[in-house]
Symmetry: C2
Subunit: 212 residues, 2 copies
């Protein structure tokens, strides 16, 4: 075809409402009740969650201090999107039945409880459920919360959210998180070259200086 | 900690403004000028694009027919997000310099032009650039456009957007797209078991019945 004359500005979408909406959702998130990890009741839905640490592990004492009076500094932020979201294949009925957000938080709980030097009772969580069209906001709000809080396990220690790569794929390296928190048996099977423990510990220290 | 009594509805975010905003952005997208593939001029920015087919390949004659009077039915929708977006690591300065949207569209052009049975001149495109905070909308708008248009190469023929997996990773199967459109040399190196060509062709036929 003969194309239109090119004018970049005709292709730029401008709408301040979006930034306002993200702020509104983040404010809502930060005002939701803090729950134990895992939450006491199973619930359905998909959405965004944050984990808070308030224990005595020396590595994370900064978080315990920052969260002393209110839960303002998550150590990790994550999301559970409707199945098939990337391919836009989810149907509302499937979504409304799913317990993916709870399941994801529960999985984190298990990983923490089997680690050698973390206590599950030292963690709490917040989460927000996004329903119907709202579920399209999930990635955006996760990203906004990460930008805002710069959580350690998202930004400086990779691997907390990893899954067992499965048989035949253990050539990869153990993640940063698994190097400093031993416990997951599948992580021990990964025989790639992991990052040096001292490097990770100084990354933690350096990153925590930028928080709070 | 002792957690709050659990009440699911305290954790549900409700805001109709989001669905309205998505509709506004989709409407804007569908009203942008159609350009040749690739667009005549390089430009900077990240965002969302759609490819339209209006050629004579019998496999896609339905698209040629549907798009006869206006470009309403993309065969593929994709996005280019700022680098580091998933980790929320992008800085505005890096973003404003990047040409990722154009680069992505250009890469598609190359893949189409080397395929044995598609002509680049039979394709056109639309694209919308999202700047600053707006770039958080990119995945949402891509997803909304895919839900709306159900493009064939997103939903029924996998692999058009794939990259060369790189040496040592050719154990995977050739994608659906590469089975029906030969041309990419790296695809020929993939020695996994691809889907049967006739299966893919009947997937195409079945999916196109649901469009328009």
């Amino acid at each position: 075809m003969k194309s239109a004359a090119f004018d970049r500005k005709e292709h730029v979408y401008q709408n301040d409402a979006f930034a306002e909406l993200v702020k509104d959702a983040v404010r809502f998130f930060n005002g939701t009740p803090v729950q134990s990890l895992p939450p006491e009741e199973n619930f359905f839905g998909t959405g965004v969650y944050a984990l808070y640490y308030t224990g005595a592990n020396p590595l994370y004492k900064k978080y315990a201090k920052l969260n002393r009076l209110s839960y303002g500094y998550p150590i990790y932020v994550g999301k559970a999107v409707p199945k098939g979201w990337r391919q836009a294949r989810n149907s509302d009925s499937a979504e409304s039945q799913s317990h993916e957000l709870y399941t994801r938080i529960k999985e984190h709980s298990r990983n923490i409880s089997i680690s050698s030097d973390l206590l599950l009772r030292d963690f709490s969580c917040r989460f927000v459920i996004f329903e119907q069209e709202g579920s399209d906001m999930i990635s955006t709000i996760e990203s906004a919360l990460i930008k805002l809080h710069r959580p350690l396990w998202n930004m400086a220690v990779d691997g907390f959210g990893n899954h067992d790569p499965g048989s035949g794929r253990y050539e990869q390296a153990k993640s940063d998180w698994d190097v400093i928190h031993t416990g997951r048996t599948w992580a021990e099977k990964c025989h790639g070259n992991p990052k040096d423990k001292n490097t990770i510990l100084s990354n933690v220290e350096r990153h925590l200086k930028t928080i709070g």
